[in-house]
């Protein structure tokens, strides 16, 4: 790599080599400002009195009243708790179930393995939310309506997680496994001591994507919940801010920011890991 760059210097490339001409810089920045503007606007609306929704005044008084109102008008604390329970529960269960299945696919002689694997991959296209009607019936037969388990359970056997972990497990050299077996480890110990630690980056990537997905998921949670006790933030926010409720906009802004804040802050702090994770998880 280094020799290439060194060589390219002798050819004296044009000064704009890999750099962006001024016009494009302006375009890039303009697009960036347009893209971030809606979020900035939400911040503006949330931290100023309702009268300043469409009056941009640098000296407009800042206020936290909108947040206080939102917090008082809807049980956001409960929604937070529900979303937090949901996300940790789903990710933990996904890790366990997908690890076991991926290990089986990667290392065990199962008859018809390829056909079975294709069957699993179908779930990449047939998501629980596409089957809301029948999944609702099944959830109600299992007594899972209006429970956090009911929101999460259909997502636990994630084809995507099985796929990612299987890919990773297949790259781990057999020699490590053989060494562990000589030391007397059984299969579960081999999985736990050899495969899982070496797949840490995959768990991180899949975990971040899964957390974002379930923090943001709406349609299935909306269908399967019907009370404050089980509603996650997205559904709570949807109910709260539906235009017909007539809640004032500054309050809706504040509520919206309340719901996205933890994920947004995490993203801003760990941008690199987030982008890498989405990338890693996306290329399948």
């Amino acid at each position: 790599m280094k020799s290439v760059t060194a060589k390219s210097k002798t050819y004296a490339p044009r000064p704009d080599y890999f750099s962006i001409p001024a016009l494009e810089t302006v375009a890039a920045w303009l697009l960036a400002i347009i893209w971030i503007f809606p979020l900035l606007y939400a911040f503006w609306a949330a931290f100023h009195p309702p009268a300043y929704m469409v009056r941009f005044d640098l000296f407009a008084p800042l206020t936290l009243d909108n947040f206080k109102n939102a917090w008082a008008q809807a049980p956001f604390a409960r929604y937070y708790l529900n979303t937090f329970t949901l996300v940790t529960g789903v990710v933990f269960a996904q890790f366990v179930v997908c690890t076991l299945a991926a290990f089986a696919f990667a290392r065990f002689p199962i008859p018809g393995k390829n056909v079975l694997f294709m069957l699993v991959l179908i779930q990449l296209f047939v998501f629980p939310e596409v089957l809301i009607v029948e999944n609702y019936r099944i959830a109600s037969e299992l007594g899972l309506i209006n429970t956090i388990t009911g929101i999460g359970l259909p997502y636990v056997a994630s084809a995507f997680g099985i796929f990612l972990l299987r890919q990773t497990f297949k790259t781990i050299p057999r020699e490590l496994e053989d060494a562990a077996r000589i030391e007397g480890c059984n299969w579960l110990e081999i999985l736990w001591k050899v495969y899982v630690p070496l797949a840490k980056p995959t768990y991180l990537a899949y975990g971040l994507v899964s957390i974002s997905h379930h923090w943001n998921n709406f349609l299935w949670p909306l269908v399967v919940t019907n009370s404050v006790e089980s509603r996650p933030l997205t559904v709570g926010l949807g109910v709260f801010s539906a235009p017909e409720t007539g809640v004032n906009w500054a309050t809706v802004s504040a509520a919206t920011l309340l719901s996205i804040a933890p994920l947004l802050v995490a993203f801003l702090l760990f941008q690199r890991q987030f982008v890498q994770s989405f990338l890693r998880a996306g290329i399948r």
């Binding site: 697009l31 179930v97 596409v130 609702y136 974002s212 933030l233 994920l263 947004l264 982008v275």
Partner: protein, 295 residues
């Protein structure tokens, strides 16, 4: 013989490891798919009478329903409106951010941030723009002396407004795949073309764009799935209205099942969605995976 039993035992262990995933997939993916198809072939019995097999009659009814065609057409327009635009923007963003750009970190963050917001929150924020009386867009138009537009209430505008919001939400997600692909293109290609004096424009179309083809196909598949799968924003922005002008297939399923309590029609539309997804899946597994090998 001993060899055989150990092989058998491995098979048994393998099956046991698969069991939890298999049970869950059967319960929440395979079984509901099958019962959805079955339900679409029956009419429910009244007052405890058994369901009546009607063959394809429900499909006949669905295809005779102008609302269904309107919704299907909306979904097509929605796909055509969102997909090429967000892919083109994503590619543009990636090219911007891949170059030596001042403030690259901020620009990249700005592009990507909508991706991590829930669709509901994004819709809430865009509602401030689109609202007829106090919305920002109409205030701006008013300040410039134009009369306001009913962005979400006017049937000829509403779907377009929903599309614009979706493009905003999606483009940054697709950008990261282009960015990764661009970083994988050998710099020698650029050097060689510079020596030959190739213009940046023709370098892009002759070298970069063809090399990005697998990424474009990958992004396209994802965008197609999203166009069918994501309807969250409709709950806030339009509820499928006005007069179904922004209704999409999955939202129509939701309405049929949970507002009109017509499970049969909902099942029939779901089968249509499943067929669309099956086509997308076939394209992915046959065309795309032949190009981008994975084991």
């Amino acid at each position: 013989m001993a060899e055989m039993t150990s092989h058998r035992r491995m098979q048994l262990y393998g099956a046991l490891l698969l069991l939890p995933a298999a049970v869950l997939l059967a319960t929440f993916a395979y079984l509901p798919t099958i019962t959805t198809v079955i339900n679409s072939l029956f009419l429910p019995g009244f007052r405890g009478a058994p369901a009546e097999f009607v063959g394809l009659e429900n499909y006949q009814l669905l295809f005779d329903d102008p609302t269904f065609w309107k919704v299907a057409r909306n979904n097509l327009i929605y796909a055509i409106g969102t997909i090429p635009t967000s892919i083109a923007l994503a590619l543009g963003m990636a090219l911007f951010v891949n170059g030596k750009l001042r403030g690259r970190g901020f620009v990249r963050m700005a592009y990507f941030t909508p991706t991590i917001l829930p669709m509901i929150a994004a819709a809430n924020i865009w509602m401030f723009f689109y609202a007829p009386q106090i919305g920002l867009f109409n205030k701006l138009l008013g300040a410039l002396g134009f009369s306001g537009v009913n962005w979400l209430g006017d049937p000829s505008m509403a779907l377009g407004s929903v599309i614009v919001m979706s493009v905003w939400k999606e483009a940054g997600f697709f950008m990261i795949f282009y960015l990764a692909a661009l970083q994988g293109i050998a710099p020698e290609l650029k050097e060689a073309s510079d020596l030959e004096g190739t213009s940046r424009w023709s370098f892009f179309w002759r070298v970069t764009f063809p090399l990005l083809m697998p990424t474009t196909l990958f992004v396209l598949i994802n965008a197609l799935i999203n166009a069918v799968r994501v309807v969250d924003h409709l709950f806030i922005l339009t509820k499928g209205g006005p007069n179904n002008a922004t209704n999409l297939l999955l939202y129509y399923v939701y309405e049929n099942a949970f507002s009109f309590f017509d499970r049969t029609t909902a099942a029939t539309i779901t089968v249509v969605i499943l067929l669309v997804l099956a086509v997308v899946a076939t394209v992915k597994f046959t065309i795309l995976d032949r190009r981008t090998h994975y084991q």
